[in-house]
Symmetry: D3
Subunit: 194 residues, 6 copies
């Protein structure tokens, strides 16, 4: 329904894609029932596509991370909203609804996490992520101390940093390509399961 | 589903309300099938309730305004998102979907109007509204000139200013009262009518 | 002495005004010996005029408020200076001098309340008002806690919010209309009564 | 009437001052009928006192400058207001009233020069001074081009820079010493001469 | 000479590294005669190490890019300085000296590219990179237009975006790990070759 | 090696200079083996030259100051980097290397003092200097309290303020004159003495 094309840049035909990229795309399509536009947009440059999704997986699917999928998506939504990235807020807002099973949470965090119904520990996590995302030059020892006072350890902090940093990259690529969120994301998981 | 009460402040019982306030609330309930929480929250102080809705109506229902309901709600959503106001983004996002019949537009404008599928003239309107909302001290003659170059006249500009100014007030009251958006607003008009 | 007209918008003749608006204007003129330009400027749109002054009175003359007239005007002057609103700083600076009987206080607060001779409790009030006015998205639970540690209660905080929010609206309308402060305000109450 | 001492730092007795400093102070006292507190405050460190006033005179009394005394004081008032310096806004506001013979101009420029009745050329001067004062890192070739398009030449720009830079220093010293403006400055030249 | 360890996080022994990571490290050591600390720091998490350097190479060594190595490093240095990242400014400042053969250029761009001896076209590139890095939410169509008016095309813009986005990620990881620049980088290529 | 002239303004011939100015310049040349460009640039206006260096000496060579030469230069480098002043960062970075005998310290502080190997007391000093330099309007009693909790006294604070304020002036004059740092400064004291 969007009046923009998926991307400001050329979107390759599926049958012109390298096999590994096509394979990844078909796998996500099978799971999601549609192809998220980030796959089509980034396929314009195959080397960057491969590195992007390798990084995504390394960060978001790291074995041993104690951050829950819901918490990871909270970071993505909060920082992407601050960076003004439509694709990431809409697509990861959908994932946040899916993981949290709270259909209002993504909109609440996108607008202002300070007024969202989350724990004080989660607010400390988002305060750090937003500071690192928006003013990295101000991050100081006191920020680590603050996170540790809430029970986070060094590896948790590195997880938060990785997610914040990777989606900061993602936000900027989506903005420059004018990447459009698929219409499926806007409505996904908006109703409570009950 | 929110874990917060409607308001940080006491919410009066309907049957304890002055007649004029109760009447306004029942009218909106009949039309909307629910009572938007802004009515219940502000009823805590009846004089302010009356002035608030009188102002709202004067601004939003001014006869002769050439701004469409969709455009007025665009201003509300864009400035409320910048001010971090959950209630206004969610509730007026719903109205923007209703008026525009574009189920994605509210989310797009809430995140970043620069990437929303709206006209250049509408972008100029939102640029002005955001400047007036966030940095009123910087508004200058060049802003009027810019708006007029897009075809807006003095009364249009006064309409934009009124909406921006009134919802700036509304945002701050919603933030301080921690006013919660009704769950109905989150899902309203999210599907295309076709 | 100003080289600007009272308002960028047409100012109606007194005898063309609706009776209730004329009556309000004549009452203020009798009390002040002049007509503050905000009345003439806003009379351009009678519905907005009525709502504006109803809101003003509800906020500034609320029975039971424990904020003194001096403290209310401190909020108006500090936030209006931050918003760059000539009319409100000059006119409400005059009122602050009148109420406080301290002829230097308005200028001191307009420039920098941190260096004004006011109490720590009043500084906490102004810190909150300025945060709510300039960065409402950052207001958090810690701000309420801070105010309460100084002895303010929930209704005091709602009073501060109402004044801040209403004069934020007023600042934006004065800026967009280029409303000029009456010359009387510049000199009013500048000498100590002794 | 201020509740603060003149300075947070010790103020030396006049008869303990070095002869050259005492002489300068007596000269200004004879002319002004009072001793501006900046002289008493800075006398705490005689070497800095001497350098400060030597710099002041070099900048403000440079022979051949085409900026009028009114324009120089406009720069001082506008930049000192942005820096939140009570002493400089109040004291140089008085001088701006004296030089301009416009009793409202200082207050208008202190609040927002964009709404002050000054020429477009003077607004360009103040725009440059405020940019250099608040965000020197952003000054670029386009700023010089803009000033030259209004008829300023290189030496005018150097005068603006010197005044802006020197009063930036002065603002910071007044803030750190909590220097209080003399009461005489608040009321000086507030009535039109006619 | 630094008083900090290389990283806030554990640095693995070389002989405990996976073969592919060790191989990459030995290759860079052979070329540079030392191991840049980014390799040792990121080896703490092998999956992220692999994705990081794959992304780095995809961005910085893309075949067909018309940006010169010097221009790519200009972007890295300017944006890393804005983000307050010691490692990236020092290490890529060294590379900028190596590629440009101008021993002062890195320091000039790190402090303020507006005063560096580079072309207007390069200044437009850095203005865009800094805007995308620091305020991605403000990037608009006018930015593309501006770049194209200087002769850049869509693929150039995507190269700039990729470098800016990737080093924004890199900056944040270096800040959170407190990654220290090797002493070799501080002095590398500081003398003119003549 | 710079492609810019020393200054945007005319640089007088040495033999056309007043005797006192020439004498000062020859003295610095004898000591440094070159003439720092700030002397040549400011000689364009002899009165300002004299006041500038008198102020410099009063601030930087005040007898009795407990701030070490290294600490004074830390303030200069940190605030000059924030203000985007090439000349001051490069020239005083050289002096910081000379005084501290730590060849990396200047670059570390220029990029981000929070990640430099300095004491907590020195970090408190730089936090204050940067706040006073960049946002003087926010300096408050709590800043003095913070400095005193680290062991600084009132005269130390006045020294910090003087250095910050004077180099704020210096930064702005260097920026407006486009003053170029001498090539000698870029390489001075970059090797450890051992």
């Amino acid at each position: 329904m969007s009046q923009f094309p998926i991307s400001r840049y050329p979107v390759p035909d599926l049958d012109a894609l390298p096999a590994d990229i096509l394979s990844r795309i078909l796998a996500v399509q099978e799971k999601a029932r549609f192809i998220p536009n980030v796959f089509l947009t980034l396929a314009h440059r195959p080397e960057e596509f491969r590195a992007f999704f390798a990084y995504h997986d390394a960060i978001m699917e790291r074995e041993g991370s104690t951050l829950s999928p819901t918490e990871k998506e909270m970071i993505v939504v909060a920082t992407s909203a601050a960076n003004g990235c439509q694709y990431c807020v809409v697509a990861h807002g959908a994932l946040l609804r899916v993981f949290s099973k709270k259909p209002q949470l993504a909109d609440q965090i996108a607008v202002n996490y300070l007024h969202a119904p989350i724990s004080e520990k989660q607010k400390a996590m988002l305060a750090f992520a937003l500071k690192l995302s928006r003013t990295p030059e101000l991050v100081a020892q006191s920020d680590y101390d603050q996170l540790k006072s809430h029970g986070y350890d060094d590896e948790d902090i590195l997880d938060m940093a990785g997610i914040t940093a990777f989606f900061g990259l993602s936000n900027r690529m989506a903005i420059v390509t004018n990447m459009q969120a698929n219409s499926e994301f806007y409505t996904m998981a908006r109703e409570s399961k009950s």
